[in-house]
Amino acid sequence: MIAELLAGLVFIPLGATLLVLLLPRQARGYLCFTAVLALPLCLMPLTQAVWADGEITLALAEFTPPLGIVWRLDGLALIMLWLTAIVAVPVSLHALTSFPPGEQTGRGFWPLWLMLLAGINALFLSADLFNLYVTLEMITLAGVAMLGIGGNALALKAAMRYLLLGLLASLLYLLAVGLIYGQTGALDIYLVGERLETDRLAATALVLMITGLLVKSAIFPMHVWLPAAHGNAPGPVSAILSGLVVKVSLYMLIRIWFWMAGDWELPAAATALGLLGAGAILYGSLAALIQPRLKMVIAYSTVAQLGYVMLLFPLASINAFHAASYQLLAHGLAKAAMFLAAANILWSIGTDRLHALTDLNRKLPVDLFALALAAVSIMGLPPSGGFLAKWLLLEAAWQQGAWGWLILISIGSLLSAAYLFRVIALTCFHPERRHVPTRWQSPPSSASIAALVLALLAIAAGFTSAPILGLIDDSLPPGGIWP
């Protein structure tokens, strides 16, 4: 039964893509949405199984490592899968109206979206370095393609930049995989972790891998592609890219660092990664503060928020692990909500320039409410998932006496408050410049509800820590965590 459910996570969306391409247009919408709804249904029994028996492994085609590929479902992977499923449902609900399955753009969107879901799920399940490469390519190509739907020139150029850097990053990663395979004769992360000797070759491979993944995750200063891509993508695609796609490579980075290179002691490298995170927090926040467009603010906010996850590497304790996972989860929910709300605003008034956003509290109360709730979580104000993440991170920093990181986190959250309150203030209280929108159409109510649901979930994440943290506790790296 378990194997069927695991297969379902990948092959339901994949199979649905194939069916969507073959079926007549009337049936498409329902089919796609049903396929997305099936994901949380698959995850529920799997969660119970992981709770009861711990990690689940499945050797594909009955070949075990080093030859075969193994799927491993532990707590961390489960959390990421849940994030994917939970974000996917409202985003799909939104996409049903913004990309109607029968129309030209929808025909482009839905198969790619389902393929992307299949790729993301396959990546979270996979414990094989090369299989991770293939899934990562699936995700990158599908993500870039979705970004270009609609043919906006800015979006197309951003897509190209994203694609070129993404392919370069993939090559670096692939080269590293080749080197590691040469040394260990294995590709399974756990097995490689056991066999890898810490010589120059392995160190270089690790550097190549990390560099590639940092580019894919848009960690400062390799973030250059992200703001334009996330800021110009069509509505739900921004939510998908910011909520899910960047998390994927960050997750891989965590896996490789702690699971594959878990018993190397690399405090200097860890500090360097943390400093990149610090750069991301400061630069992303300051850049968000001066952006003229709502979606660009949110995009730069993603650059900043991902920086918090990087603090896991220098802090490297159980608390930091909790914090980073929670940050991935809470940020995914809140950021998807923000981008959906921004998409609705853009749809309604035809622009997302901040100075044009007046009186939204009366025109688009639900969307503005969703935006504000999500902002609460991003700023790390209680009660919200973002707050718990920040609390855990501060606690982790305190326990190690890492006052520098502690101050950084505080400053970062103040900066995030600065740029988000700026947005909300402009949308509600706008004294002199009463902007009369050139066009107005109210967004479909399901689109607004989708944004609101995600925002409420981001807040609700502030009350459901026990099961989530429990899952993480059960899936700590085999070599332990070292600072």
């Binding site: 104000l381 408050a417 009350f463 820590s465």
Partner: protein, 495 residues
């Protein structure tokens, strides 16, 4: 019958009311009014019921684990009931006033929605059973108050709101770091009368001192301790009911209440004295008292004068708990109630002056007594109370403060009190004199014709709070008075 949910219900009543008000939209005025008043009445009933439980020693407690070892605790004890009662009563009165005050303005749904959430967070602050819970609602309060300050949407309002945010968020960042530090040292502890940190060794006393300062900074921002006060006068651009709420019940009081919790229930007066932190707090409070009064004297705008008066008066609370001893602590804590009653009256009056006649500056007050006798009378009563004239409520507070200071040998408090009283008189008496003695001007700045409903809605709450403030002073010895209540609480701290 289980009563655990009662503290939660106290918070949720206003929170849900707020959300429903948002959803009702701008036009459903009657439904909104009924909901507002209904929720306020329900809350009063809950407070009454809770008081009964607390008196009979069956105080309920609601507990929810947010993180392992980190609980959200809401519970009713004597101190929290003091604050909730004050908030609940004043909320009801302010709601009546606000409905009348905002009769003709726009964005009322937003206003009343955040107004309710603001009260909900005040309830949460009052009922918080540990510092973590306190912090959560403290932040929620910041969030809910910000749109109220910016409500009018004018440039000044937005700037005022921005200043408010900068101060409060900066303060809460410091608060959060202090909180993390404290929890790292001592773990999560519930509030206990007399403190919870006794067993922490002498080696950690420096840590405790730094943490104390950080937490005081966090709370001092809202309590408007000098030099963290300057957001308060700028926030005066908010509508009058908001100012009233801000100064009397919600924000400033939340900061002062937090200081009380910090000194009495987290560190405990003994430890605070041992760490030498009481002197620090007392000096900060004394400086604030004098500075606020002097600044108030220099203001020509009525609301700004009242704002600086708040800066000064709220610090009596901090001064009381810092000086310590049964009497002084009682004086400080009872001022929580007394100052609230008097200050809300004053702001109601200022709001009436501004809306009905357009009077905003002190030199426009001439002859108001004849035009609006009831409002002017209320203003006079509250103003005299602030000065500390017997038998007003303010006198009771000041008397206990002074006597308490002498009892513990803190003689230096007396000159501070005297100076402050003189300054109070100097900035209130000229106003009162102008209103009653000076002749009416030929023309008021912006006279408005109000309907009977509106006039009643504005004046009746004002008169009521004025009367209550007199009664609390007159019947201070009655067993149900705030003073007796506070005495009961304080005797637990100083057995």
């Amino acid at each position: 019958m289980t009563t655990e949910w009662l503290p939660l219900a106290m918070v949720l009543v206003s929170l849900i009311a707020g959300v429903i008000i948002f959803l009702l939209g701008e036009q459903r005025q009657l439904a909104r009014t009924l909901l507002n008043l209904g929720a306020a009445l329900v809350k009063l009933a809950l407070v009454a019921f809770l008081s009964m439980l607390v008196v009979t020693d069956r105080a309920p407690e609601f507990r929810l684990a947010l993180l392992p070892g980190l609980d959200l605790v809401l519970r009713a004890d004597a101190l929290s009931l003091l604050f909730t009662t004050l908030s609940a009563v004043l909320w009801l009165i302010t709601t009546v006033y606000a409905i009348a005050y905002l009769e003709r303005s726009e964005n009322r749904a937003r206003f009343f929605g955040f107004f309710s959430i603001c009260v909900a967070s005040t309830m949460g602050i009052a009922m918080a059973g540990n510092l973590f819970t306190f912090f959560i609602f403290y932040e929620l309060l910041t969030l809910a108050t910000w749109p109220l300050v910016a409500h009018s949407g004018s440039r000044a309002a937005i700037l005022g709101a921005r200043t408010y945010l900068r101060y409060t968020l900066g303060g809460s960042a410091v608060f959060l770091v202090g909180l993390i530090w404290l929890y790292g040292l001592a773990g999560s502890r519930d509030f206990i009368a007399g403190g919870q940190l006794d067993e922490i060794g002498i080696a950690q006393h420096l840590d405790l001192q730094i943490i104390f300062v950080m937490l005081v900074i966090g709370m001092g921002v809202k309590a408007a301790l000098v030099p963290l006060h300057s957001w308060l006068p700028k926030a005066m651009v908010a509508p009058a009911p908001v100012s009233a709420l801000l100064h009397a019940v919600a924000v400033v009081k939340a900061g002062a209440f937090g200081l009380v919790r910090l000194v009495e229930d987290v560190y405990g007066p003994e430890l605070v004295a041992e760490l030498g932190m009481n002197h620090l707090l007392a000096v900060a409070a004394a400086v604030t008292i004098i500075y606020g009064s002097v600044m108030a004297l220099r203001q020509t705008d009525i609301k700004r004068r009242l704002a600086f008066s708040t800066v000064s008066q709220v610090s009596y609370i901090a001064l009381g708990i810092a000086v310590g001893g049964v009497m002084a602590t009682t004086g400080g804590m009872v001022h929580l109630v007394h100052q609230g009653l008097m200050k809300i009256t004053l702001f109601f009056c200022a709001g009436i002056f501004a809306t009905v006649l357009g009077v905003k500056c002190i030199d426009q007050l001439d002859g108001l007594g004849r035009r609006m006798p009831w409002t002017t009378l209320s203003f006079t009563i509250a103003g005299l109370g602030m000065i500390g004239l017997p038998p007003m409520a303010g006198f009771v507070s000041k008397y206990y403060l002074g006597a308490g200071a002498i009892a513990v040998g803190a003689w230096w408090v007396i000159p501070v009190l005297i100076a402050s009283t003189l300054l109070n008189a100097a900035y209130f008496l000229p106003l009162i004199k102008r209103m009653w003695m000076h002749p009416e001007p030929g023309e008021w700045p912006h006279p408005v014709n109000l309907s009977r409903m509106e006039t009643g809605g504005l004046v009746i709450p004002t008169v009521m709070t004025a009367i209550i403030s007199v009664l609390t002073g007159l019947f201070a010895a009655h067993p149900l008075s705030p003073l007796s209540w506070v005495m009961g609480i304080v005797t637990e701290y100083f057995p």
